[in-house]
Amino acid sequence: MMSDSDWSAKPRVIGEIERGDHYHLEPDDRCLFFGEYTSRAGFDHGDTNQLISNLQKPVSRAGKPDYKYKEWAISTAAAAIRGASAKATRGEVVIVPAPPSKPRGHVEYDDRMERIARLIGPNADARCLLETTAPREQAKRADHRPSIDDLVASMRVNLALLEPLPAGVILLDDVITNGTTFKAAQRLLTPYLRGRKFVGLFLARRVFPPIEWPDV
């Protein structure tokens, strides 16, 4: 494959050109992304597709040789965020990892987003303000995607971590698809933020594969 993209690049805003690909996003929502991800089984051309597929390797593969790629993806993502936001790196805004699909303690609990957030830097303020209370099927495998309401019902706000009140919150997730997680997190957190800004940062945004080709 041809690989020449650069993870030190600046993130892109989901604006007029991109918003239509993310059904739930509204014009006032502020979301940014680094790369574009095509969800297409077995097709991993491009650095973004590879990074996401490595990052999403199931935790059951821990200790297997390929698991080092997941570690690599985590550190690459952390470095990208470090390069994109001095405020986040200095701890002036709080990074909230999107909660995984399984609750803490579950055998498939995957804390990849939390680990990225904590790896941004020693001064970064990573807080798990959102927790999963009920396991969900991973969205991409589920027959029907959960609604915003479904997601809101499966998460709770960890009130103990709210103080000191952050100057702003960045919700961090790997891939934005319809924007469901972002909207659910926004609905859960904004009542506690007293007008502070809430934005989403995604390693990639999902773009639609128009057609299936044979993979070569």
Binding site: M2, S5, R12, V13, F34, F43, G46, P210, I211
Partner: protein
């Protein structure tokens, strides 16, 4: 005057990219007197790290972006997108072009850019043998998994795209017109198909193109050949006359350190001097597909 990079960090991120704004700014830059790919490339080479929006008024850029996006939504089927120099998905190898482009429009599957690709190009008016050779070459390349890149012109380009599709392969068109213009019109359907199922790329500014006469707009065609060469690992010239625009791509391929293949039939045409000339500068004479295969696949 344009806002300084510092003012762009009013939010949590340092200097994030607003693609719509950059699209509008790029279009504005092209409306300036004397704008060309060369003048813009020079300007960005001097202002390292600058974006189009650093060089034009933001309000104007936003209004222009609004017009173009509206126009594309009306005239194009499905979504479109851009690539901006400085964003993650912009391929660094495009910088190898003589006048690298800051911004590209596209429709379709950008990920095709990450596959191994070869440009198959040539005259708009090929002989029947030329068509047959283009088909044969394209078929063999598709069988080896290469994505076929061409310019969607009449003649060899069209044969290359169509054969790639017929053979179940992947293909990319690099246009010499804006994304929502069709030239030649007979290829409109093919272009729409590629935009929907494959990938169509254009570096041509939409408003500038609309305000210029067709004769001036013809200068955009050879410009896209430079991008096509930069995008691919090799260029194959099937058939081309002494003054063909295809030769721009031949020069670029060699200059950019890409492989340049020329079919033997061109060498055997006594009217042509260019095959020999390019061979002296490193082009590879192709008697059959194995001459290509050896160098690309091993």
């Amino acid at each position: 005057m344009a806002s300084l990079p510092l003012t762009r960090s009013a939010d949590f991120f340092d200097d994030p990219i607003d693609a719509a704004l950059e699209l509008g700014a790029y279009e504005r830059l092209w409306m300036e007197t004397g704008a060309s790919f060369r003048s813009l490339a020079d300007r960005f080479a001097r202002a390292r790290g600058a974006r189009p929006s650093d060089l034009v008024d933001e309000g104007e850029a936003r209004r222009t972006a609004g017009r173009i996006i509206e126009r594309f939504r009306t005239r194009l089927q499905g979504s479109f997108n851009i690539r901006l120099h400085g964003e993650l998905e912009y391929p660094d190898r495009l910088r190898h072009a003589t006048h690298p482009v800051e911004l590209l429009y596209f429709q379709g599957s950008w990920e095709l850019v990450h596959t191994r690709s070869v440009a198959v190009v040539g005259t708009r008016d090929p002989s029947p043998e030329g068509r047959a050779r283009a088909r044969k070459m394209t078929k063999a390349l598709v069988e080896d998994g290469f994505t076929i890149v061409s310019g969607l012109a009449r003649g060899i380009d069209s044969v290359a795209h169509r054969t790639a599709i017929e053979e179940g392969g992947r293909t990319i068109a690099v246009l010499g017109t804006p994304l929502d213009e069709y030239y030649p019109t007979e290829n409109a359907e093919l272009q729409a198909l590629l935009a929907h199922q494959h990938l169509v790329i254009s570096q041509v500014p939409v408003e500038r193109y609309s305000t210029q006469n067709p004769r001036t707009n013809r200068f955009f065609f050879p410009e896209r050949n430079k991008t096509m060469s930069a995008l691919t690992e090799a260029t194959i010239i099937v058939e081309a006359g002494e003054t063909s625009g295809t030769l721009v791509q031949a020069r670029e391929a060699l200059k950019q350190g890409r492989k340049l293949f020329i079919l033997n039939s061109a060498f055997e045409d006594a009217r042509l001097t260019w095959p020999k000339r390019f061979e002296e500068h490193g082009a590879i004479r192709v008697r059959d597909y194995d001459d290509v295969r050896q160098r690309l696949v091993g």
